[in-house]
Subunit: 247 residues, 4 copies
């Protein structure tokens, strides 16, 4: 027992293999760079899983039972994730496992499953500047972050973002091209906590940025299970005498 | 054009056929009694649909396009509702259609789809008394309701109810047997509004009760579409000059 | 009985008297122009009140009893509003009256009283461009508004805005100078509804803008009382037999 | 530096002096028994303050600067708390200090100040039984608590409780006499966290109950400052070139 939070970083891991531009930025896959950011804090044990790792996308029942927080990045192959694996991940989140969804993961099956909405948004890919404003400085996910920080080149994700009203809007982004976005938002579902964070386009080295790494590490600490427990629907006996009798 | 709100009351409609006790209470099906309660206000046009009405459960694309608010009662046959019909209903809710889920509909595919949780709860069927407290008297769904009202015989639904934090908790129930329940709760998903209301067990004449009818009619007015619009995920041009250039 | 919503527009009305630049924009006071925008919809009866109108700032008990929605603009003389008048306005809001707070009213006694926070923000006055994004297009306050609209010259109000988590964030603003702001936010307190809207600097003709007028009129419809009732703290008899006896 | 959370327990401390029945239950004051419950966990440093301790009610600027979490119990003398001390406590909460309000503290100046509402409720004092349901078992304040727990004798506090929609409803109470109550609710204001907990009537030994003590200790851990920082309203220079020029 290390006392560390056990994170599984899940990456689609196809862009980095098929696209030279992405491979140049993340030669060993985005997941390894996200994991590196977590490991440098000393607070996490990190494992990796990806779409084509095995027939279960690296997300067996055993892996999930031993995962405190699951980080999810996907983009071009959302449809290739099997529904039975989505069912399994959902079950573990509702029982207490944390979920962090990054960037294009907004359209993943698991994020849409958890929220019930389309999770649609506006987008544009012209390498513009993004400035992220810390709207809730006291939130654990904002710990140690400045009041605003920038990414020199980013893909724009703009409102309206079709999500339920978040528990907390921790970050709101300003884009050079004129849009805004609720870029860091939290949700609670069942016993589990969910954080969505918008930055993370595959052609920019965003997961090497110190502020971005801090946000993800903070989120992983915040999303670690508070309890982990099955959810049942039991028939229960009365706790008080029932004196009302049907006719 | 009547200017009336168009409600489709959907009922599983199997208990009333197979179970003598239920048939005695709702000889023509629960849906007709729910519809009767809506019609007596003069504010609604009511149509009916049920599980075995046709291969689409009476919920064709055309029916849903002409439905402002869908009322849902189901219990023993949730699994028989086809996934493609659930997809279709979800799409219409996100685009603006209202949804009212009654009683055992908490476990319906559509409610769980919209909320992302198990929607589990505790339950007990001993015909005990229920007292419903109006916690938000100013909410449109509480309009004209007293500060509390009673049902002489009810099925108990107790906490913890596995739902996301509601937008509003309009009613909380006290049970004779010792439990409490958030019995009237609202959600917003996409452009649509959702209301869940716990009373409505099939062996009691609950949908003939004046207060219950008022709640459902209020909810149907509240859930009527404010806008009705497709949700898209467009790529958009910049609104401002982009002066940041990638290296 | 006109069936119209009765709005009282309250204006500090000192800038327009003392400052030539403001007088040029609003020769008869900002309140008259705000009122004009409401009147052109045909849905409202409009009255006016201001700080120096009479010893009660035009907000007698009788005026408030006959006000459905109070609109508030103040800036340089927040401290001159008497605490007993603030008490009175608070009482009426909690009992059901609506409140719309505009621009620099974020620092008014009544807004801080209702929210319990400092309502601080960042600001800058360089006549920059503001683009307002409609984040909740289905909200009644967003009815008929485009997905974004612009003000050519505005005072910047930036995050962090020290308010409790709003009920709804209807609008988020993008500023030319690089900030973002939750510029249209709702709250509910007691039986009353509150809307804060950031635009409205005294040196620009913002209250003549068609989109701004539409927002304020929508908000006044939305904030109209649903119920209007005193709030009491009564001792009540038990509804059930108490069988537990103290030792 | 002990690394412990520094709690100041504030008690009105008049009932225990003037009323024999209360003195019998809490001979050294309720605050000492609340403090004892915190101390037995080993996680807290506890100090005490009370209304008549000194002209500042024991809440000097220095005391508050060295308080992480303030616990508040008051009842018969809310009006005797000086407004300037309420201002000071509010300032510290907004800057990050936690606040736990117990039982009749619902009507304290500081609680009403923070929430902006009357905080009214129904009440009855017949020593009835109360059963507290844990509605959010994953919330830090519910850690280690059973799904329900009881108090044999309590004062009834019933809905409607005039508070803004809480951040989380952690506990809901069932009363023998037929009411329900949102008995454990959280709020965030500024950088501070607030927890209200309904049990705690002065004539019953409720603060000696193990479950009640656990709730209060959990709440004190949860409400400890995440950041502590002044809130300002600065004028700031533009981060981007302003190219829009006023006419």
């Amino acid at each position: 027992m290390s006392g560390k939070i056990r994170v599984t970083v899940w990456n689609e891991f196809r862009h980095e293999i098929r696209n030279e531009r992405v491979k140049a930025v993340y030669p060993d896959g985005m997941h390894t760079v996200i994991g590196e950011g977590l490991l440098e804090t000393g607070d996490f044990e990190v494992k990796y899983a990806w779409l084509d790792k095995d027939p279960e996308h690296g997300l067996s029942e055993e892996v999930l039972q031993n995962t405190d927080v699951l980080v999810w990045w996907g983009h071009m192959a959302h449809a290739d994730v099997k529904d039975e694996i989505v069912d399994r991940v959902q079950k573990h989140i509702l029982q207490g496992m944390g979920l962090i969804v990054l960037h294009s993961g907004h359209f993943s099956k698991i994020f849409r499953r958890m929220l019930g909405t389309t999770c649609s948004l506006k987008w544009r890919e012209v390498a513009e500047k993004e400035r992220i404003w810390t709207v809730e400085p006291a939130h654990p996910i904002a710990q140690g972050l400045p009041e605003h920080f920038e990414l020199p080149h980013t893909e724009m994700y703009g409102e309206r973002f079709d999500i339920p009203t978040p528990k907390d809007v921790v970050f709101i982004t300003w884009y050079e091209g004129g849009e805004v976005f609720r870029s860091g938002v939290t949700f609670e579902r069942g016993y589990g906590r969910i954080f969505y964070f918008a930055p993370g386009h595959e052609t920019f080295p965003i997961f090497r940025d110190a502020n971005i790494r801090r946000v993800i590490a903070n989120a992983a600490r915040w999303a670690a299970p508070r309890i982990r427990r099955e959810i049942t629907c039991p028939s229960v006996p009365a706790l008080e005498d029932i004196r009302t009798k049907p006719e």
